[in-house]
Subunit: 139 residues, 2 copies
């Protein structure tokens, strides 16, 4: 069958390693990564840059519903975490290119795993929600 026994094992090891019942939640590596990719735009940004490097304005056009504030902020966070590289070309007017670092590229693989899971199981989530909301209405 598809019991993910080994995955579960690995996770439990991590749980223990992180001392889940301790106070080190904010410094937990898993939490830090989730805080980054869990925000509204980081994932989309990483996936976009996985295609090729982009400039600020290009990213803006590529993801029309991001505000310029959030674009700046997301890019800065990703840069701070070493996931993307920011290169300023001293032209006039200035142009800035963003590209994935090797570290950023290495994140594409776990991210891809997640993306494929989402694609595959989306329908089940949807129907679970309808069922849950339906029962809630009945009550």
């Amino acid at each position: 069958m598809k019991r993910p026994a080994n995955a579960s094992r690995g996770i439990q090891d991590v749980l223990r390693a992180q001392n889940i019942s301790g106070q080190s939640l904010s410094e937990c590596p898993v939490r830090q990564v989730l805080d980054q990719i869990g925000d509204k735009w980081s994932t989309l940004m990483l996936l976009s840059l996985s295609e090729k490097p982009y400039r600020f304005g290009e990213l803006r056009r590529l993801i029309p519903d991001i505000s310029q504030r959030m674009l700046t902020q997301t890019l800065r966070d990703l840069q701070r975490n070493g996931l993307i590289l920011r290169t300023v070309f001293p032209t006039q007017p200035p142009s800035v290119e963003y590209r994935l670092t090797p570290l950023g590229e290495s994140l594409l693989e776990p991210l891809g795993t997640l993306v494929r899971w989402a694609e595959t199981h989306y329908g089940r989530i949807q129907s679970a929600r309808r069922h849950f909301d339906g029962k809630a209405d009945a009550a």
Copy 2:
């Protein structure tokens, strides 16, 4: 080498499938999944329940720094999305058991991939941050 060319390919397909430049961001499967696992407690909850089913109070003791409000809310969201199953035993006083559904268990694998990535690359993220913050201070 370790160029994740295939992962990148898959991601690009997903990007196109999601019509990234369209308006369907809020209904994007990937986004919905990230909204769930990206919140503060869901991942910890799923990982905890991957070990074995737990009751409300047990979870509370297992994760001491979660507030009871967030525990309730996180569990309800996970239940709504079909990732965990809530079973009420009509005892006195009542006891409620939470356990992963098969759907929830299937999420452990992509989650494990992410967790392992975080573990492996945590050091590089940390040093990238120090470097970034150091340069920011200098300016």
